[in-house]
């Protein structure tokens, strides 16, 4: 299958994962225990984009709200809309990342990584620049690693015989919202 077909035919995979992630993050009040990493906080915030339909008749709805319970977005899920984009806060130890994930393509947008150095400490000599580059790259890669590990958790249950049970829980959660 070439990339264009994969994008069209398997569009649901990322969207289903992000919907599951939203359910999973609320299951234990915003924390998910990632094997080998421990508790990572995963909080859906501020901004969700849902879509319905396919191809040219695709419609998009944006739900925003600082302190909202995102009830409109949950209603959207009950209507069969798919979660396409979400603003997520990821926290691990003292560090915190904010990012927007586009579910169908796995683009990460407006990624804010933990600030680790005061602006006054930044120098322009080549070694300091290299250090800064490596640090920034490592923080982006960590954000991706969290997403990978969460995706792996989803895939493990998704491809197992337990998926039916998990679907029942997700349905109950959607209908309770």
């Amino acid at each position: 299958m070439d990339l264009v077909d994969i994008i069209a035919e398997k569009r649901f995979l990322g969207q289903e994962f992000v919907t599951w992630l939203w359910y999973k993050s609320e299951e234990r009040g915003g924390a998910i225990d990632i094997p080998g990493m421990g508790d990572v906080s995963v909080v859906f915030e501020k901004h969700l984009l849902l879509e319905s339909g396919e191809g040219d008749s695709r419609e998009k709805v944006i739900c925003q709200g600082l302190q909202s319970e995102l009830t409109e977005a949950r209603t959207g899920l009950r209507m069969g809309k798919k979660l396409e984009q979400a603003r997520i806060l990821l926290g691990h130890g003292e560090y915190q990342w904010n990012l927007t994930i586009r579910a169908s393509m796995f683009d990460l947008k407006s990624v804010k990584v933990p600030k680790t150095m005061a602006a006054s400490e930044e120098s322009d000599d080549p070694e300091a620049i290299e250090g800064r580059l490596l640090e920034k790259i490592s923080l982006y890669e960590q954000a991706l690693q969290f997403v990978d590990e969460l995706f792996r958790m989803y895939l493990q249950v998704r491809l197992s015989n337990d998926w039916e049970k998990e679907v029942l829980k997700v349905r109950t959660w959607i209908n309770a919202g």
Partner: protein
């Protein structure tokens, strides 16, 4: 928004293909060969190539400044001379009117109009100042993945082409299905391939 800015957007590619044994020498030669060439003082319409991530005017890379640990960090710069459609339309209409008056004819043929459009476009492009766009990338040589700091499909397509021309290696965008293939046990691959959407209602 680039790699070093306070907020960045990016996608991940995997790198496919055989890496040469003397990689750093190979990379130095290829990056120099595909470094950005300035077109400010020429009439060229388009230029694309590598520049330093710290400075878009640096395409010399003194002391292999693109090397950072096990990474190659570079920026792709594209300069384009563009003519705004409204400007092109204005100049075409002006020239059409001038010709009709000069030749005392009520209207021009389709061929004549096309020729005018072509000439006006050329004339305006020569006058246009090249507009730069710069996109950062970092290549993790240990696990052969590349982060590209733009979510624009057009920029990604140009990047894939430049990367392939430079390093003779293919980039594959890691959309969820392909990323999944790298995360699961190999014996689950068939299950993944056959998977259809779940009804969550």
């Amino acid at each position: 928004m680039g790699l070093l800015s306070s907020s960045a957007s990016f996608v991940r590619f995997s790198v496919e293909g055989e890496m040469p044994a003397n990689f750093w020498d190979f990379a130095a030669e290829r990056i120099a060969g595909h470094a950005f060439r300035d077109i400010d003082d020429s009439y060229e319409e388009h230029s694309i190539g590598w520049v330093s991530i710290m400075n878009m005017f640096d395409s010399e890379f003194a002391y292999a400044s693109y090397a950072a640990g096990d990474y190659i960090a570079l920026a792709m710069r594209m300069d384009d001379r563009k003519v705004a459609p409204a400007v092109l339309k204005k100049f075409c209409q002006k020239e059409e009117e001038r010709l009709k008056k000069e030749r005392q004819i009520p209207k021009l043929s389709r061929g004549q109009k096309l020729e005018i459009k072509e000439n006006m476009n050329l004339m305006l492009i020569k006058k246009a100042v090249p507009v730069p766009s710069v996109y950062d990338m970092c290549w993790n040589l240990a696990d052969n993945t590349v982060l590209f700091f733009s979510t624009s499909a057009k920029a990604q397509a140009s990047f894939e082409d430049l990367f392939k021309e430079t390093f003779d290696l293919h980039l594959i965008l890691q959309v969820p299905f392909l990323a999944a293939g790298k995360l699961i046990d190999p014996d689950l691959e068939d299950r993944l391939a056959d998977m259809g959407p779940t009804i969550l209602l």
